[in-house]
């Protein structure tokens, strides 16, 4: 909003006090949000003795990445002690194709539903949109059965299929809302110029789409990477994605409780989405607001 305090009559002792209060409030909540990250990070860098003898907020006396190495290579998940590594790559192998395919399908569908409107296009959109609102519990059981029939239960391709299907309503929503604001005249002009459906998509629409592509990819990436429900429901053992493995690691009760390893494992699991968020956070925010306020 307009900076009213800079206007004449805006400066007074009361105003300064309000300003001080404002910054205090902002900083207290900044601490609420940032402290857990600091605590987790510093715990992951301590050794077990230091954890037991120190407090939550004490900083590690020396930077020690042992827990990180252990979490990555050796930690036991269930009965196999392979560390998070194989599960991390499961997640990578699951996330990348699922993100790309659901984004492409979403773009093509959004394009068709807005720029080549046919009878019933709005109804089809509404029916697809409904998929955004269902609690996934209503599809877990039949999905588990179907994956079995398709012989892709407990495999990465199985999870890719699941994530494509249930990501589609969101990608279609994003692209449809973006494309609906691109003037129809462009399509008409290109049609008269002699370009067909795919030519227009390739030469006109896609070059205009980077903002929404970035938004959709970030959204899908965080959703799929962070998924736990589907991973826990449809995979066991070595087929699990990293979120499920992390939970198993943390809740494995045998042996000594290595809090530093738990925290390192949590950070490893969080790293990809955090990196994406730090690098492209601006688009992330824009995507959240565009997708959820308008949708």
């Amino acid at each position: 909003m307009a900076d009213l305090s800079a206007l004449p009559g805006g400066k007074s002792p009361w105003q300064s006090a309000a300003r001080f209060g404002l910054y205090t409030l902002l900083l207290i909540f900044a601490a609420y949000y940032i402290l857990p990250l600091i605590v987790v990070l510093s715990t992951s860098l301590k050794d077990l003795d230091e954890i037991r003898n120190g407090t939550l907020l004490s900083l590690p006396s020396e930077i020690n990445f042992d827990a990180w190495g252990y979490a990555w290579n050796e930690a036991c998940i269930g009965v196999s002690c392979t560390g998070l590594k194989p599960y991390f790559w499961n997640s990578v192998a699951m996330t990348i194709p699922a993100v790309l395919i659901s984004t492409l399908l979403g773009a093509l569908t959004g394009y068709s539903l807005t720029k080549f409107k046919f009878k019933g296009a709005n109804l089809i959109f509404a029916m697809i949109l409904f998929g955004c609102f269902i609690p996934f519990q209503v599809v877990l059981l039949p999905m588990a059965q179907s994956l079995g029939y398709l012989r892709i239960a407990n495999t990465v391709p199985g999870l890719v299929l699941v994530h494509i299907v249930y990501g589609l309503p969101f990608t279609v929503l994003f692209f449809r809302n973006y494309y609906v604001n691109i003037p129809d005249d462009l399509i008409k002009a290109a049609t008269i110029d002699g370009a067909g459906f795919f030519m227009i998509f390739w030469r006109i629409m896609l070059p205009l789409s980077p903002p929404i592509i970035v938004v959709t990819i970030i959204w899908q990436f965080t959703q799929i990477w962070n998924d736990f429900l589907f991973g826990a429901s449809f995979t066991t053992g070595g087929g699990q994605p990293v979120t499920v493995a992390l939970n198993n690691l943390v809740n494995t009760t045998t042996g000594v409780k290595r809090y530093n390893v738990d925290m390192a494992a949590a950070l490893i699991t969080a790293a990809p989405t955090l990196v994406v968020y730090v690098l492209a956070g601006r688009y992330f925010v824009r995507g959240l607001t565009a997708g959820s306020v308008k949708g």
């Binding site: 909003m1 307009a2 206007l7 404002l22 409030l25 902002l26 909540f29 900044a30 949000y33 990250l37 605590v39 987790v40 954890i51 037991r52 939550l56 399908l105 093509l108 569908t109 068709s112 080549f116 409107k117 046919f118 089809i124 029916m127 409904f130 609102f133 269902i134 996934f136 519990q137 209503v138 059981l141 039949p142 999905m143 299907v165 589609l168 459906f197 998924d227 736990f228 429900l229 826990a232 429901s233 979120t243 992390l246 939970n247 943390v250 809090y259 738990d262 949590a266 699991t269 969080a270 989405t273 994406v276 968020y277 956070g281 992330f284 925010v285 959240l288 607001t289 959820s292 306020v293």
Partner: protein, 306 residues
């Protein structure tokens, strides 16, 4: 003569390519739509059907009426789960909205380092609930977490054992869920605040309204759609919440913190009660729909009127 000319200049008709050109959009939408029809509508129908059977480990298809629903509502864990959902959901939604809105207004006062603060408030959104749960479990554990921190600072009598207290454990879910989601609410409000017409604010300022009055009387009422959006999104998150419970409390102590989603998972995948699992899933769907349908209806009506 006329017909001769017609044949000369009009390109020869190619029925197949003409048909393709007319229907290409439908053909492109078909796979997506087909997937949704099968995997969303088909599966819901299947789950709905199974919820009316006595299926245990394997689905059976003889219709048994509301047997599973009656059974479901007689089970203590399900009732606890629904109560938890109500307590957790209302607190989580209320606090996240109030906090998010407050932070957005605070950030909207031309503060220094706004970008950094925004990033700090929002980053939890990028993280999985499993990680959030793991982190807060560590912070809240009475042995080495906040309780021991306070005690080591000299507050010997400080007790903060909510995580292992079956009366209080559900509130730890609220703390963690608010931590994860209020930044997102803040982002929605901030975007909307930035969209408020600054001339209205200037006009109110000229009329002599104070800053707090401007917000209360002029700006917040225009944000009604954002309040609605947040309410709806957070409700949706609350009903779906599953991972946070698994990671933070594991549903415990006992089953004091389970949510409907955990109940459903437990029945379906651990106890081979898929009929009961299906019935609980349908109850969850009904809960979400009870909130979503009026919301969508009002949205659509507004769009039509506007």
């Amino acid at each position: 003569m006329m017909s001769l000319m017609t044949q000369k200049t009009i390109p020869a008709k190619q029925p197949l390519s003409d048909w393709f050109r007319r229907n290409v959009a439908k053909l492109v939408v078909a796979p997506t739509f087909g997937l949704i029809i099968f995997f969303v509508y088909g599966f819901i129908a299947w789950t709905g059907y199974v919820s009316f059977t006595k299926s245990k480990m394997l689905p059976t298809y003889s219709f048994e009426g509301f047997y599973q629903y009656i059974r479901l509502w007689k089970m203590t864990p399900w009732n606890v789960a629904m109560e938890n959902l109500l307590v957790f959901g209302s607190l989580f939604i209320l606090i996240a909205i109030v906090l998010g809105c407050l932070l957005a207004i605070a950030l909207d006062q031309k503060v220094r380092a706004e970008g950094v603060l925004r990033t700090v408030y929002l980053y939890p959104m990028a993280i999985s609930f499993i990680i959030t749960g793991t982190a807060w479990k560590w912070i809240l554990n009475p042995g080495l977490g906040i309780q021991s921190l306070m005690q080591s600072w000299g507050w010997e009598s400080f007790a903060f054992d909510w995580l292992i207290n079956s009366e209080m454990a559900v509130y730890t879910l609220v703390i963690a869920a608010v931590w994860q989601s209020s930044g997102f609410v803040m982002a929605l409000f901030l975007a909307a605040l930035r969209g408020v017409d600054s001339e209205i604010i200037k006009a109110a300022y000229l009329d002599g309204a104070s800053l707090s009055r401007i917000y209360l009387v002029i700006i917040l009422p225009t944000l009604r759609p954002v309040f609605l959006s947040c309410f709806f999104i957070l409700t949706h998150m609350a009903v779906k919440s599953f991972d946070l419970v698994v990671a933070l409390t594991g549903g415990g102590p006992g089953y004091s913190t389970i949510m409907p989603a955990n109940f459903m998972y437990e029945m379906t995948f651990r106890r081979n009660q898929i009929g009961l699992g299906a019935a609980s899933a349908m109850m969850m769907l009904a809960t979400v729909m009870a909130i979503v349908i009026p919301y969508l209806y009002s949205e659509l009506r507004e769009k039509k009127n506007g």
